[in-house]
């Protein structure tokens, strides 16, 4: 069996494989020797306190931040040679933290921007996709022609996630989707994450709301000061002494 065919079989089960990456700014290493994987159909979460380096990991996967060491494989292919837009063409989609939307553009335009990789397709393909996405986020339908900066924080987060889904992701990466939102809205966001997952989209979730994230995750990793200190199933991590003591105040 050739190396290529082995890689292809490997890629059938493992969506993303991060191998010993080191990321830093100048001489300072923010992420050190981090390895993890996301398999098909999984929700995997990376949890940790503010400043642990969670967002940096996501940015490095999509290519917005360069690696100093290690490599990232997506569906069996090394991503090192690809620019951010080429990685996204291959199906990795990042929804940045803080519900970042294009405030001066309408909801419709924001969704169209999410379909960048289908820009050469017929308009009807994109409109069909918008319809599908708005079934998950009905609130967007009501305000379709409004400017995004007129929306509440929760609605913006919904829009950011919907925009991410417009790219028909093979892997959806959510960066702190609950950041700065009221508990009721957070409930809604987590419900939506499960709906997206039920449609077969693997999710890599980065969160500070550790309990909520581990509850819905198949597997999780605990990140401290740029290093993974613990890994296991969501339930295992919830029961671990380290997580209870350091993050859940128990």
């Amino acid at each position: 069996m050739t190396l290529l065919s082995l890689k292809l079989i490997w890629g059938m089960f493992i969506m993303l494989r991060v191998n010993g990456i080191q990321v830093g700014y100048g001489n300072m290493a923010v992420i050190r020797d981090v390895s993890f994987r996301v398999d098909k159909g999984e929700i995997v979460t990376i949890v940790g306190s503010n400043g642990a380096g969670k967002s940096t990991i996501l940015k490095s996967i999509v290519g917005l931040v360069g690696l100093k060491k290690g490599n990232i494989e997506f569906m069996g292919e090394d991503m090192g040679k690809y620019q951010p837009h080429e990685r996204i063409e291959r199906g990795i989609v990042l929804v940045p933290e803080g519900g970042k939307v294009f405030g001066r553009l309408t909801i419709k335009d924001n969704l169209y921007l999410g379909s960048y990789k289908y820009r050469k397709e017929d308009k009807s393909v994109i409109e069909e996709r918008i319809e599908e996405v708005m079934e998950i986020f009905p609130v967007l339908k009501e305000r379709y022609h409004s400017r995004a900066d007129t929306m509440s924080g929760g609605e913006r987060q919904m829009l950011a996630m919907a925009r991410g889904l417009m790219g028909n992701p093979e892997l959806l990466m959510l960066d702190e989707p609950s950041l700065g939102l009221a508990p009721k809205i957070v409930d809604k966001i987590f419900e939506v994450i499960q709906v997206i997952h039920s449609k077969g989209v693997p999710i890599l979730l980065v969160e500070q709301q550790i309990h909520r994230a581990l509850e819905i995750a198949d597997r999780g990793y605990v990140l401290q000061d740029g290093v993974i200190v613990l890994e296991g199933s969501g339930q295992e991590l919830l029961n671990s002494e380290l997580v209870k003591k350091a993050y859940l105040g128990m």
Partner: protein, 314 residues
């Protein structure tokens, strides 16, 4: 509604056409020509600074490249400045890509600093390069009479007026078309939030270069036009840092990120600058520049979104 809007533009263009016939005063016509030229420059900058979020403070480099290219082609090869104008635009695109590509990862202030440095390098290079006339500058041979081939008109400013008006309207038309196209859509996304645009797969480097190319081309065309208008160019007149600053000021004053904002900026600031210079410039006290600066300062405090904010309801 759309029909009414078109009629409004037609009326404005007709007014612009009859203006120099009604006000047949050379100085007034000169001011109008400068309005068109600066309107064109500010509109070009608007593509990068207003829509794409790239603050360039080095547009004088492209203006100078346009001016020098058409003048040199005319002086060395006898090529009509009309073709020289296009050639200048193309050379400026090449220069824009040459500076834009290595700077494709620079953001905000760092990009602005890189453009300032680039403009200074071009200025110093041209000041010391004997082939382009060095500090002495270049002055093409004067045609014996008004000539369309040589792009020289000395009996009247009217040809310059109408050419300037046409070039400005052409720039507005092209920028409007680009901004309303799919490309413009991605440029605006880039200007709003580059990182989010990148996370959606928008090819940042490609759209940055498109934006820089459009702005460089029209800035250089304005440079060629200016060179033919004054028929003498040297680094302080076409590569001056203050020119880069003026372009940004006019666009911001009128309202960057809107199609008509930069034109409004030119319509107000250029006559103000020209008349202030004519009235107080000879006193040697710098009063003209003080008045100019004071108006910009006060207006920026009360109308930070520019003149167009009077017309935009939010």
């Amino acid at each position: 509604m759309e029909k009414g809007k078109h009629l409004y533009y037609v009326v404005l263009v007709v007014l612009a056409i009859v203006f120099p016939i009604v006000f047949n005063v050379p100085f007034v016509q000169h001011v109008a020509i400068m309005v068109f030229m600066y309107g064109m420059l500010a509109e070009s900058w608007n593509v990068i600074g207003g829509y794409s979020g790239l603050f360039s403070f080095g547009q004088a480099a492209f203006f100078g490249i346009g001016a020098y290219t058409s003048t040199l082609l005319y002086m060395q090869l006898g090529l009509t400045p009309w073709i020289g104008m296009i050639a200048g635009g193309l050379v400026a695109i090449a220069a824009g890509i040459a500076i834009g590509y290595p700077c494709s990862k620079l953001k905000g202030h760092y990009f602005a600093i890189a453009t300032i440095a680039f403009a200074w390098i071009i200025n110093i290079l041209f000041t010391n390069w004997s082939f382009v006339g060095a500090a002495t500058g270049l002055s093409p041979e004067l045609a014996p009479a008004d000539s369309w081939y040589a792009f020289q008109f000395r009996s009247s400013k009217l040809p310059y007026y109408y050419i300037g008006l046409f070039l400005m309207l052409l720039t507005v038309y092209v920028v409007n078309k680009v901004i309303k196209s799919k490309t413009g859509f991605y440029l605006r996304a880039l200007g709003e939030n580059e990182e989010v645009a990148a996370s959606l797969g928008v090819n940042i480097a490609k759209y940055r270069l498109i934006s820089i190319s459009i702005a460089s081309f029209f800035t250089a065309v304005a440079g060629s036009f200016y060179a033919q208008y004054v028929l003498y160019i040297d680094p302080p007149s076409v590569l001056a840092h203050f020119l880069s600053v003026e372009i940004v000021l006019i666009a911001m004053f009128g309202g960057s990120g809107t199609i008509w904002g930069p034109i409004w900026g030119a319509l107000i600031l250029v006559p103000l600058s020209q008349y202030a210079r004519a009235i107080w410039g000879g006193m040697g006290s710098g009063l003209d520049i003080m008045v100019y600066g004071f108006v910009i300062m006060v207006f920026s405090i009360f109308r930070p979104r520019g003149v167009v904010s009077f017309f935009i309801r939010k």
